[in-house]
């Protein structure tokens, strides 16, 4: 508000005319406010619905719950199957994020620092993994995991997601690593650091922002991916997405339950964003995202 009034100050006539209604918001402010409002509409609506009863939801339009209830959430919290699915999802996403970043770090370092035969084609081939839709890989993974006994375990999903998260992390981290001058590596070698010690003590702190950004994207892609996660699991490792599909059954659609599960699904993502927000802000400014 204050900045907009400063901006309009040089337009002497206009500000003088506006003087009686001193605090009238400018067009920009209104525009931004509307934009933010529209951004939040779907999220608000999800939260709104999650506190309604199913009869409420179906009885017409209301901007807030007429008979607010926590019943939807209660049903999720008391049902061990819902619990398990949340735990499953968090586990495979966590494993995937750790594995992806851990595997991508040395690869990205090699791509950034060394020239070797086929380095550039290999780098772009990695990216091409991201270009195919997950559905393409669902069948081969299903077949492979059924044969090896990995099927219906959190490892099945965690490893399957590596297929596109490792290339993504390599791509992101390579940008950050290339931003660190090679002379730092050399100075460490001159100082006598062994490579592992240099990598952990000197290098990793330098690319902490990049690791934060890469981990964030791996988390997000793995968390929202549904097709592989539901195809490669049945009972033991059923993810959230799998549980949600149960909410529309022969008995009809359980709107309230679905909305409550949706709200709960957003929370881990929000928490992760909260923790890595500084890294991401710096990362977007510095590296390759």
């Amino acid at each position: 508000m204050s900045s907009s009034s400063v901006l309009s100050a040089p337009l002497g006539a206009a500000s003088a005319a506006a003087a009686p209604t001193a605090r009238r918001p400018s067009g920009t402010t209104v525009g931004i406010a509307l934009y933010v409002l529209f951004l939040f509409v779907p999220i608000y609506w999800l939260v709104n619905v999650s506190f309604k009863t199913n009869t409420d939801i179906l009885s017409g339009l209301s901007l807030w719950p007429q008979h607010p209830t926590l019943d939807n959430y209660r049903r999720i919290f008391v049902d061990p199957e819902w619990h398990a699915s949340f735990v499953n999802s968090i586990l495979y996403v966590g494993i995937n994020t750790i594995v992806s970043v851990a595997v991508a770090l040395p690869a990205a370092y090699a791509f950034s620092r060394y020239r070797f035969v086929g380095d550039k084609p290999l780098f772009f081939w990695l990216l091409s993994n991201l270009m195919a839709p997950p559905a393409v890989y669902a069948m081969p993974f299903f077949n492979l995991y059924s044969a090896t006994g990995l099927f219906d375990s959190i490892w099945a999903v965690a490893l399957a997601h590596c297929l596109f998260n490792v290339p993504l992390a390599v791509w992101i981290l390579e940008g950050f690593i290339s931003g660190v001058p090679r002379e730092i590596d050399e100075t460490a070698a001159i100082d006598g650091y062994s490579f592992p010690r240099f990598f952990v003590k000197i290098f990793l702190p330098l690319i902490a922002n990049g690791i934060g950004v890469a981990a964030f994207f791996c988390f997000m892609f793995s968390w929202v991916e549904q097709l592989l996660a539901t195809t490669l699991t049945t009972v033991d490792a059923k993810p959230i997405a799998g549980m949600m599909s149960r909410a529309y059954s022969a008995a009809g659609l359980d709107w309230g339950l679905l909305a409550a599960a949706g709200v709960l699904t957003m929370i881990p993502g929000a928490i992760v964003i909260w923790f890595v927000r500084n890294h991401i802000a710096k990362g977007f400014a510095l590296g390759r995202v």
Binding site: A188, I190, D191
Partner: protein, 383 residues
């Protein structure tokens, strides 16, 4: 520790980066690598350090062949032109890092870091990170880290190039003294002839990956062995005139002749290049009487001033000669406000000029002016 480079070469594909570099570096000496950007100074240092492997030749350390040994197996410290420190560590931890890697006792580390920090005047900044320092302080941190290590070979790659003038003057004086106490072989790369002269010691001039001359710094300056060495060791650029010597007379490109004296005396007939630094050329204002009559020691050329560079108590006057001999830079004592276009005459002091043959080698008829090249003068020159 002595370090000997024996015909060290580096090729990338067909490109020759370093050609047959031979150097003999003794402990406790200052060794200057003087050459323009991209002349191979940094590459040569990287070969000395073991950061890169030469493709030919040998590197011998105290009689031990270390050609294939990596940098971790050598006792080396290096400071880059860019300020390279570990950004996430404090200044103290930066300086202490080579000692920590060596696994020294904590008290020993503290004592050595404190000493280095005192010498580099970093004591109030020890708790800060490099990003919170000025450029000069960052480079002093890098220098302190090189100092505490007490390496036997210290490589300084244009360490003062990115610093402001005053700090550069100070550090240039202190650095050789501080590092000399460690008894290390000190190698200092620079693009500036003036810096090389101030550092004294021995100088190797580099041109396009080739060492063109090695010797005590002042001797290399006084007696360049070839045109490349003279060009590298000249600021402002070396003045060069093509002359043809025939029967005791030298003829310039414009057809004017003058007696073949100084370096031209007694030369066999043929073409050569007359090279001279700005201090061998005087400016005489026409009508002032100075340029009239026969010049005492050499030829004079009329021309017009194009630029005057004033540096403190001296002026470098660029004169475009009338006869199409190109631009000649002259040194004039004191501050002179020549205007572009002013008519002047350039008087050349032939005694301070050099003659170079068609192959670029220095030529001289008299034995007294023969130039020593290569590792002839090996004893360290007192700084």
């Amino acid at each position: 520790m002595s370090l000997v480079l024996d015909a060290v070469g580096l090729k990338r594909g067909d490109e020759v980066i370093i050609a047959d570099a031979s150097l003999d570096l003794q402990p406790g000496t200052m060794n200057v690598l003087l050459g323009p950007t991209l002349s191979g100074k940094t590459t040569l240092m990287r070969l000395m350090a073991g950061l890169d492997r030469p493709t030919s030749g040998r590197i011998v350390e105290d009689g031990r062949d270390v050609t294939g040994l990596g940098v971790k197996a050598r006792s080396v410290a290096m400071v880059y032109q860019q300020f390279v420190n570990y950004p996430t560590l404090s200044v103290y931890d930066n300086i202490a890092s080579p000692l920590r890697v060596q696994g020294l006792a904590k008290a020993e580390i503290e004592a050595r870091v404190a000493r280095a920090a005192k010498l580099m005047r970093l004591e109030p900044m020890l708790k800060r990170t490099p990003a919170q320092l000025s450029g000069g302080q960052q480079q002093r941190t890098a220098l302190a880290r090189a100092l505490v290590k007490q390496a036997k070979l210290v490589l300084l790659d244009e360490p003062l190039a990115n610093l402001d003038y005053k700090l550069r003057e100070e550090l240039r004086e202190e650095l050789p003294r501080i590092f000399a106490e460690t008894g290390a072989i000190l190698v200092y790369a620079t693009t500036e002839p003036g810096e090389a002269l101030l550092l004294r010691g021995r100088t190797a001039t580099l041109h396009e990956g080739r060492i063109t001359q090695v010797g005590p710094t002042a001797a290399v300056y006084r007696d360049p062995a070839n045109r490349d060495a003279a060009r590298v060791f000249s600021d402002p650029p070396l003045n060069e005139l093509a002359v043809t010597v025939a029967g005791g007379t030298a003829t310039l490109a414009d057809g004017r002749g003058f007696p073949a004296e100084g370096p031209l005396a007694g030369l066999p007939d043929g073409a050569c290049t007359l090279g001279f630094r700005a201090d061998a050329a005087r400016v005489a204002t026409q009508g002032g009487g100075l340029g009239d009559g026969l010049p005492p020691s050499g030829p004079s050329f009329p021309g017009a001033v194009s630029v005057t560079e004033i540096s403190g108590s001296e002026s470098f006057v660029h004169v475009v000669t009338d006869a199409g001999l190109g631009t000649v830079v002259c040194l004039v004592e004191g501050v002179h406000a020549f205007e572009p276009g002013d008519r002047v005459a350039v008087e050349l002091d032939l005694g301070a000029a050099f003659a170079f043959g068609p192959d670029g080698r220095r030529i001289a008829a008299r034995g007294g002016r023969a130039v020593a090249t290569g590792p002839g003068l090996r004893q360290p020159v007192p700084a």
